[in-house]
Structure formats: C-alpha cells, structure tokens
Amino acid sequence: MARHGLNATAKRMLSAYAEEDERWKPGHIDAMACRDLEDTLRCGNGLYRLISEIAECRRLDAQEPEDFREIQDYFKWWLKPCDRIMAKIAEFESVFQDGVEGADEFRRNCEQAKERLRNEARAAAVEARVGFRDVELTPQAADMLDRILSDPSEGPRPAYEPKSVPLADPSVLRRGR
C-alpha cells in the first residue's frame, strides 16, 4: 500500500518535472499541493501512532483522572484539523486516480480517535456515577471528612461486625448458575 502510494507520488512528480516548461499549469500546482498534503498525512499518522502508544502505556498503569483527561486532550488536539484535512483528501482523490498516500490510514485514525473519545465520554459518565472520577467534595462533605480523619470518635460506623465471606472455587459458577 505504502509502496503503491509512493510510486503514485513519484509519478506525479516526474510528470510535473517532465512538463517543466509548463510548470505553472494547474496540474503541476495540484501535484505540489498533493505532495504537501501527503507530508501532512505522514506527520499526522506518525503523531497518531505516538499518542496511541502513550495511551496504551498509561492504560496499563493509570489510576489518576488527570492521566485520562490528558490522553483525551491529546486525541482532541489531534482531531482538530481533521475535517479540513479530510476535505483536502477528498479534493485530491477526485483529481488523482491513484489516490493520496497515507489517506486510508488517516481516515482509519480519524474514526478510531472519534470512537475513542465517544467511549471515553461514556466511561467518564459511568465512572463519575460510581465515584471514581471528578469527585470534588462539597464544603459540608469536606468538613465531615475532615472531622472523621482528625477525630477517631467521629463518623458513622458499621452497625454489624464486618465478616469476611470465604472463597469458593470458580468452578462452582460454571456448574450451576
């Protein structure tokens, strides 16, 4: 795929070179602009791979809401110029039959980034609901927690003696649900 794309670029460049005396014709200008776009796509796709790798590393050990927000911001930032770039891709694909190098990967990355942000938003809502994320204590809650942490006699306690439930073999769940 990459080789096909590179050849296509080279062909366009050669064609433009061969028509040096007609360099200011629209075809030449389009070829140059397409090459610039392909440079942008190479850069964008490389950045996407880098951000994805960072996200994967963080996913394996992240525990802090700030980590998730930072990764989310990277992808949002990456997506910012995407609509404009996608419009350019469509424009050049209609001009050059052999396509635009890196466009397929870029499209996939756009879809993945959007899906990732959609999923992240859904996860954030659930994780906020259960108390993991974005819990900023109200002044009353902070006061109550302060009192509990500073005074051992403060705070609601278990009404019954907590008791550990013994472990069972997981196979019991496979036999009879």
Partner: protein, 186 residues
C-alpha cells in the same frame, strides 16, 4: 439458620456467568446489571483494569449466583481553591439478583445483601494505603438501597455526583472503617 455465602474473585472469563444477571427493571437496577455484565465503557472490566477494582461473585450453599460486590480506591478532592485530596475506599457497584432479595428469611444481618456488604467492609479494612473511610453513591430514586445502607451503618455525607443523566444527582454515603489510623491528606 443462616445460609452462608461464599465468593469467587471475578475475572473476564467469568463474564458468561453473569450474562443473565438481573436485579430489577428500574433505571438504577439496570445500571447495576449493565455494570457487572460489562455493557459499555466504564463498567466492570474498566473498573478492574483502570482503577484496580476488586470484584467478587457471591454464591449460596446451592452454588447459585446470588449477587456481586466490588471494592476500589480513589481520591476525592477538596473544593477549589484547595488542592487537598484524600484517598478513600469505594464500593463502585454492588447488586443482588431479584429472586434473592430479602433472602434468606431471618435476622437482617444474615440476609445475603448484608453478608455481601459486611464482606466488602471487612475487605476494605484490609486496604492499608488509604484512609479508613468507605464510600459509595446511590441513585436518588433507590430509597430501598439508602435505607439498607443506613441500616448497615452508612450515612449521607452531603456529597452528590452526576452520571450519564446530568439531571440525576447520586447521593454519597460513607462509613468509618476503624482499626487503623487516618493517613495524612495530600
């Protein structure tokens, strides 16, 4: 005579065991069954992988799946402009199958639901790197759950969180876990 539960640590491989888990048709009950069935981002597998949450499935003496419980840790932030935060234990989700609600007949402390929450409290007491506080959030329409948690010892601590529906404010409840000193807040 009390019917005692046993528990199995939950793993991805046990998702089929909860595929028909149901604890009622109310919004807040569906939220609980969706969570354990991992229906979407932010549910049980994310809680385990991203937040280090422990999850257990509870079975009765007939090896029937009765319910599940979960326990994690998180940081809660002081209101701005303070940047103080406190590490606490958290029950992200807990559920009991509809057919076992109120079972077994007998003293409240022997009911399956109480056994599960007392087990989570016992497990939370063993987590030593957070403060001796256990929190959870309850859907405001789930009055039965709020009564139940109050009976076990939890109290409303004037904290609310939003979920998927911004119009719903989940009610925060906490319990003091004794037997270890408080850590310094950061």
């Amino acid at each position: 005579m009390a019917s005692n539960l046993r528990k199995v640590p939950f793993t991805k491989e046990l998702l089929p065991a909860v595929e028909d888990f149901e604890c009622g048709g109310q919004v807040y009950e569906v939220e609980v069954s969706d969570w354990i069935q991992n229906k979407g981002p932010g549910c049980v597998i994310d809680a385990m992988e991203k937040w280090g949450t422990q999850v257990w499935l509870y079975v009765n003496e007939q090896n029937e799946l009765v319910g599940f419980g979960s326990l994690g840790t998180t940081n809660w932030n002081w209101p701005a402009p303070s940047d103080k935060r406190v590490a606490v234990s958290l029950i992200p989700s807990v559920g009991i199958r509809s057919r076992f609600r109120g079972q077994p007949i007998g003293p409240p402390q022997d009911r399956y639901s109480t056994q599960i929450v007392l087990d989570l409290i016992a497990a939370a007491r063993k987590i030593t790197d957070v403060n001796p506080v256990l929190g959870l959030f309850v859907h405001p329409d789930n009055q039965a759950a709020m009564r139940f948690y109050k009976r076990v010892g939890f109290a409303d601590f004037h904290q609310r969180t939003k979920g998927d529906d911004p119009g719903v404010q989940y009610i925060g409840m906490i319990l003091r876990l004794d037997q270890r000193p408080a850590l310094a807040v950061c």
